[in-house]
């Protein structure tokens, strides 16, 4: 059967002539409306500008569902042409095991080091001086989304930073509005905690803990403030009994909740609901305290294949994903920021422009995915899930356990 298949493939290739078109399967977990439209931009560009064909391998569910499938295919000897992972350490061991294609020659020929901005994204793709992935976008966690309708109903002005928001919470509560919307998915709790940390403890303390894994800082007074704030936020979220993040966003859109701490992907939900930034909702980067963007997002990896023609097609796709036009087309649909500073996003909305401005100023931090291993992040996620759901856990207890995780982080 297999030889028959390869025979067929061989015939197909002969038919295509000297061009040697390759069907390249690309796996990713972008399945919601905006996401699918964005990934279609990649497919279109690849089909039109090269003689190869994009074979879409979307995996429904979240990254948590898709990643084990992708990894088992790569380690199981059935590699796809290209696959999505988040910026950071998710594919680290696959690279170390020699299962990923080395893209260094493409990167050097096109000068990726000069065009990728911030360059830390390329560093995340680089292991021992070799480049193994293409960053395609930047998604930042550092936002709070505020509902103008909710604050109007409570008769108070829309806050401009976290402290004002906390002060407004009791008034919101009296008007029957949940101050802070948050779904029950584990990653939401730990993500929101990260945002509060960067806003209140500042980037230096955050970097000491999340980059240098300094457990003393994590157990120290600066972080104690963060845990107190998180405990207060835990009270503010009481009553938002929803599961998914977009249901929580919907509470903000409909004015049933005052605000939500969520990454910039929430923007898509406001757009779908025909809301305008500035009039229907506000967005505060870094909770309005420390205006900063964390550079999480997505990157594409190219699992190693034995066929040199496939390899050539993989490299073509890699360079295409980083090209100016594709970056603009993709990121506008996705609502994320481009990974190169030299493209023009005139069509971006207000919130995206705020993000771009911060990016241009260079107020950036790496994403926790880039600095901590999935294992450590998982432990933090467990702790946060427990902490946010159970008000009997004191801030001090949670901090102690957090410091313990950081001390043992790898």
């Amino acid at each position: 059967m297999k030889s028959f298949k390869s025979l067929l493939c061989g015939t197909a290739m002969c038919a295509a002539g000297a061009a040697h078109a390759v069907d390249l399967e690309v796996t990713h977990w972008w399945t919601s409306g905006g996401e699918a439209a964005a990934v279609a931009e990649f497919a279109k560009a690849f089909d039109e500008r090269t003689e190869h064909t994009w074979v879409d391998g979307a995996i429904a569910g979240s990254g948590g569902v898709a990643r084990p499938i992708m990894i088992s295919r790569i380690t199981g000897g059935d590699p796809m042409g290209a696959t999505q992972f988040n910026h950071g350490r998710q594919a680290e061991e696959l690279v170390e095991a020699g299962l990923m294609l080395d893209l260094t020659d493409v990167a050097e020929a096109e000068g990726w080091r000069d065009i990728v901005h911030p360059v830390s994204l390329l560093d995340s793709c680089t292991i021992d001086g070799r480049v193994y992935c293409v960053p395609v976008n930047i998604h930042s966690w550092q936002w709070i989304w505020l509902s103008h309708a909710a604050f109007e109903q409570a008769g108070i002005p829309v806050p401009t930073n976290w402290d004002e928001f906390v002060a407004a919470a009791p008034t919101l509560r009296e008007s029957g509005i949940v101050p802070l919307a948050m779904g029950n998915q584990p990653w939401q709790a730990s993500g929101a905690f990260g945002v509060i940390t960067i806003a209140l403890a500042g980037p230096e303390a955050w970097a000491a803990v999340s980059v240098d894994k300094d457990a003393e800082v994590a157990a120290g007074p600066v972080y104690a403030k963060v845990f107190e704030a998180a405990a207060a936020a835990r009270e503010m979220r009481q009553g938002s009994n929803v599961q998914d993040w977009n249901q929580a966003t919907n509470l903000v859109i409909t004015g049933k909740a005052g605000g939500q701490i969520m990454g910039d992907w929430a923007q898509g939900e406001f757009q779908v609901a025909n809301q305008m930034a500035g009039t229907d909702y506000s967005c505060l980067p870094g909770l309005g305290v420390n205006e900063i963007i964390s550079t999480g997002g997505d990157a594409f990896y190219f699992p190693k294949q034995s066929d040199p023609e496939v390899e050539a097609a993989q490299k073509e796709l890699a360079s295409l994903m980083l090209s100016k036009e594709v970056q603009v087309a993709f990121n506008l649909k996705k609502g994320s920021l481009p990974v190169r500073g030299d493209v023009d996003l005139a069509a971006a909305n207000d919130c995206m422009k705020k993000g771009l401005a911060i990016l241009a100023q260079g107020n950036i931090l790496p994403d926790a995915n880039q600095t901590l291993s999935p294992d450590t992040l998982g432990q933090i996620e467990d702790l946060m899930t427990e902490f946010w759901a159970d008000s009997s856990i004191s801030a001090a207890d949670a901090q102690e356990r957090y410091a313990d995780i950081i001390a043992n982080a790898d």
Binding site: G64, P374, D375
Partner: protein, 283 residues
């Protein structure tokens, strides 16, 4: 000849089951992350496992779920079977209705009960709309009782099968015994407890094994119903194993957890097997 025919089966069992199990145990002493690597770290993984709050909560949940599930499955299953055995009308219909949930997967069961137990759509809402406005029944949103919400769904799905097995066991009891008991003037309930149940020992052992294996591998029900929440209140060991191995890219930690699960099963099975088979030899 029969032995030759059994060779492939024996080889498969040895390589896949025994080999796989040994491999898992061995690699639980390493620091393997995404890929298995033979870098030994001794008992570190076990130390971390037993210092992890989530694992402890998982074990507690499994104990509660296990004991309740065992007792209630057997009791409800037997009572239903005894009731059906009273030569009632429409026995087939009842049997089908009660067995039917077993045809559903745990995922479907979990989703169905997630809706039934949802305070805004399910039981609580219905009772409230009947006029009892203060009625509260939201097990899936209450950390203290969430595991019982899962237990209800598990019982609903599983008792049908137990009942059918019990019914078959009851049908296997010779009618002469019933007649003899009646002649001696023994009340029906006494006949059941002191004569029929001891005679049904093999059926009970079969059901016990089925229920026990269902308890240890409870996973999909939790994933579908609560995905471990609220907080970590309904986590179970199998979910911990899955999450650490596949989501958190920490194979060795997952192996350590699954080795502990194996050990727990072994602690229960080995003394029982010893009693069961050891005594038979002495006869």
């Amino acid at each position: 000849m029969a032995k030759i025919a059994a060779i492939p089966m024996i080889l498969t069992a040895l390589c896949v089951f025994v080999g796989g199990t040994l491999w898992t145990v061995v690699y639980s002493f390493t620091s393997s992350k995404l890929l298995p690597k033979a870098k030994w770290v001794g008992l570190d993984q076990y130390e971390r496992l037993w210092n992890t709050n989530r694992w402890i909560v998982s074990i507690e949940n499994l104990m509660i779920y296990g004991i309740c599930s065992l007792v209630f499955s057997l009791v409800i299953g037997f009572v239903l079977a005894a009731l059906l055995d009273q030569k009632i009308r429409f026995e087939n219909t009842f049997r089908t209705i009660i067995l039917y949930p077993f045809a559903l997967s745990f995922i479907v069961t979990g989703l169905v009960w997630q809706w039934i137990l949802n305070p805004d759509f399910g039981v609580q809402n219905i009772v409230r709309s009947l006029g009892w406005a203060s009625f509260e029944f939201d097990p899936l949103y209450n950390q203290d009782i969430v595991i019982y919400g899962i237990l209800i769904a598990g019982l609903w799905q599983g008792t049908g099968l137990i009942m059918v097995l019990m019914l078959a066991g009851l049908r296997g009891i010779d009618q002469e015994i019933w007649k003899a008991a009646r002649v001696d003037g023994i009340p029906t309930w006494k006949t059941y407890i002191f004569i029929v149940i001891p005679m049904m020992r093999p059926v009970f052992i079969t059901t016990l094994v089925l229920i026990a294996s269902g308890i240890v591998r409870v996973f999909d029900l939790v994933v579908a119903q609560t995905s471990g929440g609220p907080g970590i209140a309904s986590e179970v060991p199998a979910k911990y194993v899955y999450d650490t191995m596949f989501l958190r890219q920490n194979l060795a930690q997952g192996f350590a957890a699954s080795t502990m699960m194996l050990l727990a099963v072994a602690i229960v099975i080995i003394p029982w097997a010893y009693l069961e088979f050891g005594s038979r030899k002495r006869d």
